[in-house]
Symmetry: C2
Subunit: 150 residues, 2 copies
Amino acid sequence: MKSELQVFQDYIRLRELRRTPERERILREIFEIHGHFDVDGLYLQLKQKGVKVSKASIYRALPLFIDCGLVREVEFSQGHWHYEHIYGHSHHNHLRCLSCGEIQEFENLFLHCLEEQLAKEYGYRIKSHHLQVEGLCPACRQREDEAGRS
Amino acid sequence: MKSELQVFQDYIRLRELRRTPERERILREIFEIHGHFDVDGLYLQLKQKGVKVSKASIYRALPLFIDCGLVREVEFSQGHWHYEHIYGHSHHNHLRCLSCGEIQEFENLFLHCLEEQLAKEYGYRIKSHHLQVEGLCPACRQREDEAGRS
DNA sequence: TTTTTATTGAGATTCATTCGCTATAGTACT
DNA sequence: AGTACTATAGCGAATGAATCTCAATAAAAA
C-alpha cells in the first residue's frame, strides 16, 4: 500500500501542482494526529514544534488532501470544520453523544447493500456516505435518568 | 397530531420562554417552505411579504425550533447552514449529487435495526441519525462519462 | 542558469453569526 | 386595568473562520 505521502505526490503530479515542504509537513502532522482535528489546533500544534507554516497555507492545503482522499470533513461544530485523516482507515461511521460529545466509531456492514439498492433505484453512481447516529452515551444516559428522578 | 405551532407553544411554556409574534411568524414561514432553506433566503422571503423581522431574531429562533424537534440542520455548505422543517415528515435521508447538488430523499427501512444493534453494543440511547449518501445523479453521471470518452 | 509561474506569508477583506444595548412588550401578580 | 419584572426585538457593532490580495520566493522545465 502506498504511503499517504506517496498518494499525495501522485496527486500533485497528476494535477500538475508543485511539491512544497509546507504541504508535506502539514500532511505529516495530520497523520500524526489520532482522531479529529481543526485548523486552529493543527496550526498551534505546528507552531509549538517550531514549524513555521501560515494558516492560509493550511486552509489552502486541506482541499487538496480532501480531493485526493487522504482527509475528510467530519463535522461542522463550534463554528468551524473538524477533519480527520482517512487513508488506511476503513471507512467508519460515528456514534456521537449529544451531551458530552464523545464519539464512538463503528463499522457498518450493510450500508453497502443500501448503496447498491440506491444505485439501482435512482440511477445514481454512489461515491460515499456519511452516517452519524446521535444519542446518549452510557454515562450521560445514567446522569439524565438520575436527574429525571429527582 | 399537534400542529407545529402547538408543539412550539408547548415547548415555550415548558422552557418558560415567551410567545412572540415574530417567532410564530418565522415558524409559519418555515413550514410554508417546501424543501431546504437558509437564513438569508428565509429573511428575504419574509421581507418580500412585508413582514418585518430582523435576521437576529431568525438566528435566535432557529435553535429553539431545533430544540423542540421542528427543524433540523441539514448541511453546512457554501459557508452557511441549510435547514429543513421536519415535523410531520417521516425521517428521511439524503442522496446528494456531488456535481449538480440535486437532493433525492429516500426512506430507509433497516437503520432502525442498526440503531437497536448500536444501543445494545455500546449502551447508547439513540436519539436520531443522519445518513447522507453522495454520488452522481443519472444526468451528471452521463455527462461525466461523455467527458471521459472525449 | 534562466524562465515561468505556482505557492507562500502577512495582512486586509469578506461575510455568516453573535453580541451589546436600549426600547418594547409578554407574563404574572396585584 | 395597572404595575413590576424581565425576556425579547431590533439595530448596529463586534467576532472570527475562511478567503483574497499582492509582493516575494522557490518549484519545475528548458
